[in-house]
Symmetry: C2
Subunit: 479 residues, 2 copies
C-alpha cells in the first residue's frame, strides 16, 4: 500500500523517516482517512527496521492525531481529517495596516539596494576599520563571564539595561561629554534606530510637525514619517541648525538635532545657537533629541560638550552608540532620558523588546570601567585623524576648488559640495565605472531637488585606497 | 577672579579640569558675559600648570562658544550668551501620545515589580538551568570569529539576519519541527516580543479583533492592546484552542496560538483542531501566528510537527526562540514568514531596528550546523525531564488531589488548578512567607475574575529545591 524507504546512512533517525513518510502519505491523501494500517510487525519486516522503530513513529503520528488505534481492531488513519486535496488558487495576501504599507513604501523610496558588483574602493560611511579593535582584550572580557558567571546568562536582563553598564556609561558621559546624568537616567537599546522608534511612538501623533536639520539623518526622517509626522526642515549651515531660521509658525513639539557634528554636512553648533535652541524648546514645550552619533571622534581639541549638559528643564534626550567606536556588530546603543520620559520609555521598551544581551553588556561595562574604551578611543582618533588628513590632502590635490566642504573636525565622513553645476547621479555612475563607490547626498535632504552633494566615508579604507579613490573620483568629476 | 583647583592625582587631564571649571563659572554667571579673562600666562602661573594646558582649555572653550578672542584686546567671556540664571519652576513634562500613555499604564497593570525580598526557592518560569550550557564550546565558537573574521564585526549586519544562521535554522526546523521553509523565509529578531511588536503594527488596526487563547501569553495580550486590538479569548482546554468554540461572529483577521504546547496551561492541539483552525483562517482571511516557544522541549515522543507545516495558503507565521534552549541572555529569536509577509516585515524591521549582533549569530549558526544544538537539546530533555518527573512526584505526594494539571509532556513549567475553592493571591503570600515564590495565574486570563491557578516553573531549580518547594507550598495550601 505504501513503500517506505529508509536511508540508514543519512543523519535522520529511522523512526523520523518512517514518521515523515507516513505523514506525507496521509497529508497527500495516498492513505485515505479511515484506512487500516498494516501492523507494526508487518511494517517492520517489510521495511527492514526494528519493530520498536515503527512503534515509535506510530506513537508520534497518534500524538499528532494522524492515526488512531481502535482496541482490538488495529490502527487506522484518523477518520475526521478534513484534509481536502485543497489546491487554493492564489496564495493568501494579508491586508497590511497603513503603517505596514508605509514601511513597505519607505524602503523602496530610499533605494538602499546593494548593487550586484562590489566596487574596488567603497567610500561607505559608518564603518569601523577592520583590525583596529583590540579583539584580544574583548575576548578576555567575554571569557570572564562565559566561564564563571552563569546566572547572568540564565536570566533575562533588565529592560533598562545591565546596571553596571548604565553606571559606566553615566560616568563616561559626565566626564567626557559634559552630560549631566546618573546611571538611572541611562537606558540601553539595540541602537539609535530602536531608541527613535520608541520615542517616535511616545511623542508623535499623526500630523504632528517635527523639526529636523536638512540635510539630516534620513533614517530618522523615514521613521518619523512612518508615524505620519510632517517634517519641518531647516537648512543647516557650517554651524549646524540656524535656530533663527526656524519658521515662526512651526508648531513642532519635537526636534531632532546633531549639535556636536551636524550629520551629514559637518560643522558644530556653537553655544549661542544651543542656548537659543533650548529657549525655542522652552517656548514650544518641545522635546529635543540630541543625536551624538560620533561626538567621541573629534580630532581637534577635546570633544564638544553635549547640548544635554546645558538643559535645565529636562527636555533633551541624548542618544549615543557604541557602533562607531567599538564595532557595529555589537548592536548596543544608549539614551540618557530626562526624568519625565524615563519611566514611559523603559516601560514601553519592556513591552516591545526585552533587554540586550547581558553578556555583551557586561563585557562592554568592563571595557569602559577598566579604561580600555578611552585608550581605544585615543587610538582611533589618531588612526582616523591620519586618514582624515590624507583625505583632505587628496581632495586638495585632485579636486581643489571644484569642491567645498565643512572642516572635517570630527567623524568618519565628509560631504562634498561642487562649486559648479554637477549631475550627482551621473558622477556616482562615472565613479562606479572606475571601481569607486561614492554616495549621492540627495536622499539626506528634505528639499527636492536637493543641492548636489557627494558623501565620502573614510573609516573603512586604508590610506592608499583613499588617495587612489579620490584620484579616480576626480577623474570622473566634470572639470 | 576665579580660583582653579587642579587635582594632579586624579584621572582627569589637567586641561579638562581647567576647561570644566571655567565653563561651570561661565554657566553659573560667576564670569559674566563680556568679562575679560586673564592671559593664559597669568592663569598658568596662578594655577601652576603649563601654559599650553591653559591654551588647550581656552581653545576648547572658544570652540564651544563660551569665550571669544578679540585681536589685540585679549580673551573675553562671550557677550551674546543668553544664559539667564534661569530657574524654571517645575521640570518639563512632555505630552505623551495615546500609545505612550497606554504603554505606561500597561506595565503598572501587569505589576511585574520585583519584590524586595529574594525568596529561597523561586518557581520562576522561562529560565534555563545554570550550568547546563556548554560554555566551553560556545567560547570556542565565539573565539573563532573574534580572532579571524574582522569584516563580520566591522559592518552592520543584514536586517533579515546573518544568512548562514537563517540557513541553519531553516534546515533545523524542516528536519525536526516539520516547518516548510527555506533560508529566505527566516528572519532573525531579538526575541518573540520584537517579532510581535512589528507584526502587530503591520496587521492590527485600532479596534480590530484578535483571536487568542485564554489563559494565554500575557505579554502578547499587552502588545496587541497597545495597538488597540480587541482581544477575543477562547478558553483553552487540555488540547489547546477548541476551534469550534470560536464565536461565529468573531471578526478577527489575526490569531495568536500555541499549538505545540499551550501556554501556560499545557496540552497539545491535535491534528483535527489544527486543520479546523487553518480552515477558520481561510474563511476569515486571517493570519495565524504560531508561537512555538518551547516545542523543542518535549519529553515524550519527538516534538510535534508545527502547524506551519500544514499550511498551504501562506497564512501561518511561525515564531521560535533560542532563549529557552540556549540561554535567555542571547536575545535571539526567529520567525518563518509566508512570502506575502516577508518583504513587509523585513523592511519594517529595517526601519525600526537594525540586525542583531553578527558575532552572536555566527556563533549560533555554527552551534546549529556542527550538531552542538541537537546534542545540547538531548541533554536538556534528559535534565528537564528528570526535574519534571521529580516535580510531578512531589505534587502527587504533597498536594495529591488538591490540584489537577495537564500532563507535563513538554516545557519548563506546570499550571496547577485547585480542585476546591482557593484564594490564589493569599496562597502566593502564604508561600512567600515560607520562602517560596510561586506565581498567580490570573494575569494570563482574559476573563475577570479568572479561575484560580498557580504557575510553577521548574527549570531554574535543582531537584532538592523542587521537592522542598512543593512541600512548603503544600504547607501553605488550604486543606
Amino acid at each position: 500500500m505504501i513503500a517506505l524507504h529508509i536511508d540508514r546512512a543519512g543523519p535522520e533517525a529511522a523512526y523520523r523517516q518512517v514518521y515523515r513518510q507516513l505523514r506525507a502519505a496521509i497529508l497527500a491523501g495516498e492513505l485515505a482517512p479511515g484506512t487500516r494500517l498494516p501492523s507494526s510487525r508487518t511494517l517492520a519486516s517489510e521495511t527492514g527496521v526494528a519493530r520498536i522503530t515503527i512503534a515509535h513513529a506510530m506513537k508520534q503520528l497518534a500524538a499528532e492525531g494522524f492515526i488512531e488505534s481502535r482496541t482490538g481492531a488495529g490502527t487506522f488513519v484518523a477518520a475526521d481529517l478534513p484534509l481536502a486535496g485543497a489546491t487554493h488558487g492564489e496564495p493568501f495576501r494579508p491586508m497590511l495596516t497603513s503603517w505596514g504599507q508605509r514601511a513597505l513604501a519607505t524602503h523602496q523610496a530610499t533605494g538602499r539596494t546593494s548593487s550586484a558588483q562590489r566596487p574596488e574602493i567603497d567610500f561607505g560611511f559608518g564603518r569601523s576599520f577592520a583590525g583596529s579593535f583590540p579583539y584580544d582584550i574583548w575576548r578576555q572580557l567575554l571569557g570572564r563571564y562565559l566561564s564563571t558567571d552563569d546566572a547572568m546568562l540564565s536570566r533575562y536582563g533588565s529592560t533598562a539595561g545591565f546596571y553596571p553598564l548604565r553606571e559606566a556609561i553615566a560616568d563616561y558621559l559626565a566626564r567626557s561629554r559634559g552630560v549631566r546624568c546618573v546611571a538611572e537616567d541611562v537606558a540601553i537599546v539595540s541602537g539609535a534606530q530602536q531608541a527613535l522608534d520608541i520615542l517616535a511612538r511616545m511623542l508623535i501623533n499623526p500630523g504632528d510637525e517635527v523639526l529636523v536639520e536638512s540635510p539630516g539623518y534620513r533614517d530618522a526622517f523615514a521613521l518619523f514619517r512612518l508615524y505620519q509626522a510632517r517634517l519641518v526642515g531647516v537648512a543647516a549651515d557650517d554651524h549646524g541648525l540656524p535656530v533663527d531660521d526656524i519658521p515662526v509658525d512651526c508648531r513642532a513639539r519635537l526636534a531632532f538635532v546633531t549639535p556636536s557634528h551636524q550629520f551629514p554636512r559637518g560643522g558644530t553648533m556653537p553655544l549661542a545657537r544651543r542656548q537659543a535652541l533650548l529657549a525655542w524648546g522652552r517656548e514650544r514645550a518641545a522635546v529635543i533629541i540630541e543625536d551624538d552619533y560620533d561626538g567621541d571622534l573629534r580630532y581637534e581639541g577635546g570633544s564638544l560638550a553635549a547640548l544635554q549638559g546645558l538643559d535645565d528643564d529636562g527636555r533633551v534626550v541624548y542618544l549615543g552608540t557604541f557602533s562607531k567606536v567599538l564595532f557595529p556588530a555589537l548592536r548596543l546603543g544608549y539614551l540618557v532620558l530626562p526624568r519625565a520620559l524615563n519611566r514611559p520609555f523603559v516601560q514601553a521598551k519592556d513591552l516591545v523588546d526585552r533587554g540586550a544581551s547581558t553578556l555583551t553588556q557586561a563585557a562592554v561595562a568592563d571595557f569602559l570601567t577598566e579604561g580600555h574604551f578611552e585608550r581605544h578611543l585615543r587610538r582611533l582618533r589618531r588612526l582616523y585623524g591620519e586618514k582624515r588628513r590624507v583625505l583632505v590632502g587628496a581632495l586638495d590635490s585632485y579636486l581643489g576648488d571644484r569642491v567645498r566642504y565643512s572642516t572635517v573636525a570630527a567623524g568618519l565622513h565628509v560631504m562634498l559640495f561642487p562649486t559648479t553645476h554637477l549631475d550627482e547621479a551621473r558622477l556616482v555612475d562615472e565613479a562606479a565605472a572606475r571601481g569607486v563607490r561614492v554616495y549621492a547626498g540627495a536622499s539626506f535632504y528634505l528639499e527636492k531637488p536637493a543641492p548636489p552633494s557627494i558623501l565620502l566615508g573614510f573609516s573603512g579604507l586604508d590610506e592608499a585606497e583613499i588617495i587612489e579613490g579620490v584620484r579616480r573620483l576626480a577623474d570622473a568629476w566634470p572639470l
